[in-house]
């Protein structure tokens, strides 16, 4: 009796529904934001950019880059490769979210300020953070030895951390065109309930997308380490 050939262990990707579910959630938020949320009277339709811009900024700054700093710090202490994988995943996914922030921000700014860009504290610091994370990625690609790569990148990951509170406080500390927070402030949100609901739903959908992308990226890092381990043995 012959049995069917077993599939390759390495060629069988795991079925994971989180990513498709998160993409669907973001698509539904797009529909709600574009078609079922009222247009702000003074700013016009461009104000709806906030549902993508502000949520992406919040997740990049306060989730991705905080996670990058914490996992980098813990890596230097514990030397656990899993922490390095978390750090590199948070940096890459955070970079994608920051890229969206830097693309959507000027589109919104052009309609409100009449300028694509202004070199004020918040915008400049965000751009600087983006370059720092790009440097982090380039450094990871350039250093081959795994331990040294993890140590160097942990240092950059920690150095990026002070930019997060600086960017948050920059609108209070400096004269800037960037608006003050309208939701994350001690007083009540300065928006109608429908807009707040869309913003909260957008925040939840993009958080889900962030978690799904982190999982995928972490899995990719684990797979790469396995491949490099085999290639090292056969070299």
């Amino acid at each position: 009796m012959t049995s069917a050939p077993a599939p390759l262990v390495a060629a069988r990707p795991r079925r994971d529904l989180l990513l498709p579910i998160s993409i669907l959630a973001v698509a539904l938020v797009y529909v709600r934001a574009l078609a079922f949320t009222p247009i702000e009277a003074r700013q016009g339709a461009a104000q709806k950019i906030m549902y993508v811009h502000a949520t992406s900024a919040f997740i990049a700054l306060y989730v991705a880059f905080v996670l990058l700093a914490i996992s980098s710090l813990l890596y230097l202490w514990l030397k656990d490769e899993k922490l390095d994988r978390v750090a590199e995943s948070a940096a890459e996914v955070g970079l994608v979210f920051t890229t969206v922030v830097l693309i959507t921000g000027p589109l919104w700014g052009k309609t409100i300020w009449g300028a694509w860009w202004t070199w004020d504290a918040r915008l400049t610091a965000t751009l600087f953070l983006w370059f720092l994370i790009v440097a982090y990625q380039l450094m990871r690609g350039a250093v081959e030895e795994r331990g040294r790569r993890a140590r160097y990148s942990a240092v950059i990951g920690i150095l990026a951390a002070p930019l997060v509170p600086f960017i948050h406080l920059s609108v209070y500390l400096f004269r800037t065109l960037h608006p003050m927070p309208i939701l994350l402030k001690p007083s009540a949100p300065s928006m109608p309930r429908e807009m707040v609901t869309t913003f909260v739903l957008s925040f939840l959908a993009f958080t889900l997308l962030f978690i799904a992308l982190m999982r995928e990226r972490y899995r990719l890092a684990t797979l790469r380490d396995r491949v490099e381990g085999h290639e090292g043995e056969h070299a």
Partner: protein
């Protein structure tokens, strides 16, 4: 008067979708390449034999 700037809104949403979509695609492409490299080292799991031990 409410300004008509819906073009900027559509551009922002489209570009955001493009960036996120491209990143998901890049993850999938990199995973496929790594699995192809890994399959050269990790052999197929052997099916259990029906023959009795020592036969």
């Amino acid at each position: 008067m409410t300004p008509d700037n819906s073009g900027y809104m559509i551009a922002a949403y489209a570009l955001a979708a493009l960036v996120y979509g491209a990143y998901v695609l890049s993850l999938k492409v990199r995973e496929r390449r790594l699995r192809a490299r890994l399959s050269r080292f990790e052999s197929p799991a052997r099916p259990a034999s029906n023959r009795p031990a020592g036969a």
